[in-house]
Amino acid sequence: MNFLKRTIPLIIAFVMGVLMAMQYYVPHKLSQNLLEVVSRWDRIIAGFAVFIGAYSLFHLHWTRIKRKVEGWGYSVFVYFGAIITLIFGFLNGGKFFWHDKQEGTMFDWLYSYVQVPAGATIFSILAFFIASAAYRTFRARTNESTVLLLAAIIVMLGRVPIGNYISHYIPAVADWIMAVPNLAAKRGILLGVSLGAIATSLKIILGIERSYLGGGD
């Protein structure tokens, strides 16, 4: 049983890892076809993964409703929003879900007038919180925090007309910050992250990193 539970997953990870790493260096039609096929399989599996997320969210809110925890009534709206969207989505403008997606349906209406406005407003509200958090934390206590504060102020001013109104140099300095020191730091971080990603990938393929198997036997 241990063979099925532990060894087979390690073999699958090793075979898939080696196969796909080699595939990149083989410029043959078969190699390209292999990439297309496994990418399609990956998309299908990702499609099933959505149901795990959906179950998890529904289960969480169902537990809140069942146990009548404080604010449980709001969880009803999660179900209401999801069910309404699913009904209109599967109805597909009267053509039903087994046909191709129709345009201009109630599902699209929900997307345009619920999902988009609510999403954009929730993200825009962060502007207030970021500003208040910055006011509390961005104090020029050290040289490093002063540099951070100055860079943020210059980039912000450089992106709005008032920056140009104060001085013609501010937009130019903001562009320079983005193109030179910011680029250099981002590149350094990216190189570090990439090397880390390669090391982790190798550890997964060789079976050293096994945390994705979860706990238990």
Partner: protein, 249 residues
């Protein structure tokens, strides 16, 4: 007493919102159609979320939970139409069970279907171990695909412009200084992230320069994020004043 005042403010705000919409509809500023009702709904949701800036309240919590539900439903439907239907239902299920199908079923798709179903067994106590096969497939595939591509796209392609010659003809003095600064920044940031060596002496000094570059980058990223959020805020205010109230033209 405070709870009552919050309730009255909520009811008053809702009454005002309904009155404004009745006025907008009757005056013809908003069309009496699905689009018109959509704009009213969008405006209501926007105002309910912004009400949080005053204080946490029932309207905000309702919209917050509604948004989560709608987003979940949207994700499921889009997953069906964009992934499961074209990649699994159309090439496997329809040819298997429909007599009108012209193409033969792609039986190889049974493998990812089984792997997908195995993943759902995560919730079973006895069979949850089968989900490991799926995770091993996905993780192994991702690891294998990423190694050569990360080397090519992120390491080699990032090193190449970092080692650009300072003088190769035709540059200004400023562009040469910038090239040098970028090289200095990349090297110093990389040295800062080497934690297996104590940051003392020359290493300490170079890593200090790396910190300065990182601070400038974090500040720039912060400023950029704030401006992005502000442009979203401007977009929502425009929606309220232009699309809903019709004040802006």
């Amino acid at each position: 007493m405070r709870k009552d005042s919050g309730f009255f403010i909520l009811v008053g705000a809702m009454g005002l919102f309904v009155s404004i919409n009745i006025f907008l509809m009757t005056s013809g500023k908003l069309p009496f159609s699905f689009d018109g009702f959509g704009i009213i709904l969008g405006a209501g949701l926007t105002l309910a979320i912004y009400s949080f800036l005053y204080k946490d309240n029932a309207a905000f919590k309702i919209v917050e939970n509604l948004y989560v539900g709608v987003s979940l439903g949207y994700t499921i439907i889009i997953t069906w139409f964009n992934f499961l239907k074209p990649d699994l239902y159309d090439p496997l299920i329809i040819p298997m069970f429909s007599k009108a199908a012209t193409k033969s079923p792609q039986y190889a798709l049974i493998i990812p279907s089984l792997l997908g179903l195995f993943m759902l067994l995560r919730f079973s106590r006895r069979l949850s171990w089968l989900s490991r096969w799926t995770f091993a497939f996905v993780v192994g595939l991702g690891a294998g695909v990423s190694i050569p591509r990360v080397i090519s796209a992120f390491i080699l392609e990032q090193i190449k412009p970092s080692l650009h010659p300072v003088f190769s003809g035709g540059e200004t003095i400023f562009s040469s200084i910038n090239t040098l600064l970028i090289m200095l920044g990349v090297i110093s940031v990389l040295i800062y992230f080497i934690f297996s060596v104590e940051h003392k002496g020359a290493i300490g000094k170079v890593s200090k320069i790396g910190i300065w570059f990182l601070m400038i980058s974090f500040g720039a990223s912060f400023g950029y994020t704030v401006m992005g959020r502000l442009s979203l805020l401007i977009g929502r205010i425009q929606f309220l004043l232009k699309d809903w109230l019709g004040i802006l033209q």
